[in-house]
């Protein structure tokens, strides 16, 4: 696993804790859409991420080729966060969450209830219904949502362990469309805020972390990069850079220049 330069071990940051689970890296990565399993494993390794997302799907009974991700990814090495991607109703998402938990790794679920095929934007009504039910069943729910403060607050009230607003639509690579919304959500919520979806390149990841959020989840930006392993390293560094810049506190923006070199002592 790629070494963290500014992680908790260095005293520059603290671990990210979600529902009692501690993460050193603030970058979470997906495991979908890579050109090969070898490339996926190498990219995840280079990213420094400890938490990786996985999906629940039917076993392919016809091909004897192994589609199961655990034949490639060591579950002892990574924290597996199952998603409910592709679910369009609360009932369907709850069903997938239960199947994922039965796999026996943990009680965490990245809850997605999608409302529209073109944009993959969340159905917030279904999301809240599913979140409340899964919290009742003892899940640690990390809820993928849009960048709406009110929905984020309701998800927190519902007992979600983390709220995951989007930077921009899933797989779009459009980057952070509304920094103000993300900052507001972070300021108003007590639970961790992980920005999920839309990050396209390293500067996007850095800008997201500079808003003060607790972490980032991305997938397509690595899988569709020309060189996923290099992009994974870049994202890991950018996540750390953005986090450290946020903790450092940036200088104020000014409308006029202020010299950085002494104006006294000039020869005449």
């Amino acid at each position: 696993m790629a070494e963290l330069l500014t992680g908790p071990d260095t005293g520059l940051d603290t671990p990210l804790v979600i529902a009692g689970q501690s993460f050193r890296s603030r970058l979470f990565v997906g495991t979908g859409k890579y050109r090969s399993n070898e490339q996926m494993v190498a990219a995840i390794e280079a990213s420094g991420a400890e938490c990786v997302t996985v999906a629940v799907r039917r076993v392919d009974l016809d091909r004897r080729q192994e589609t199961g991700i655990l034949h490639h990814l060591d579950p002892a090495k990574y924290f597996l966060l199952a998603n409910t991607a592709g679910c369009y109703s609360a009932d369907e998402a709850i069903r997938y969450a239960r199947l994922a938990r039965e796999a026996g790794f943990n009680e965490f679920v990245k809850l997605e209830v999608i409302g529209d095929q073109e944009t993959l934007l969340p159905d917030v009504e279904g999301l809240l219904l599913a979140a409340r039910q899964l919290v009742r069943e003892g899940f640690a729910v990390l809820a993928y949502t849009n960048d709406d403060l009110i929905t984020a607050l309701r998800l927190e009230q519902a007992g979600c362990a983390a709220v995951m607003p989007l930077a921009s639509p899933i797989g779009s690579g459009l980057g952070l469309l509304n920094p103000y919304s993300i900052r507001t959500i972070k300021r108003r919520l007590g639970v961790p805020v992980i920005v999920d979806a839309g990050v396209g390149t390293a500067s996007d990841a850095c800008l997201v972390m500079e808003q003060g959020v607790d972490g980032i989840l991305l997938n397509t930006a690595l899988a569709e990069a020309q060189d996923p392993v290099s992009m994974a390293r870049a994202m890991g560094l950018a996540t750390e850079a953005g986090r450290l810049a946020f903790l450092a506190g940036r200088m104020p923006k000014r409308e006029s220049a202020v010299p950085s070199t002494p104006v006294k002592g000039m020869v005449s």
Partner: protein
């Protein structure tokens, strides 16, 4: 009746009568530790697989983890 009609991962199949879920998995070459089994929308835990015989018309889902974001 020596055979049952079931629906396995959405596909109709015929299996011998009195076969259990554990035997079904074994016949498919699947390790139960790597699969989650749902029978008629109810999850069947691993210890119960051997004690669960199939019935005509059962719908079974066999799922596992794949790549996703």
């Amino acid at each position: 009746m020596s055979e049952l009609s079931i629906v396995l991962n959405g596909e109709p199949r015929r299996v011998p009568a009195s076969v259990t879920l554990e035997q079904l998995l074994a016949g498919l070459g699947l390790d139960p530790r790597g699969v989650v089994v749902e029978l008629n929308r109810q999850i069947v835990r691993r210890p119960a697989l051997a004690a669960t015989p199939l019935k005509d018309g059962d719908a079974i889902e066999l799922v596992h983890f794949v790549g996703g974001g």
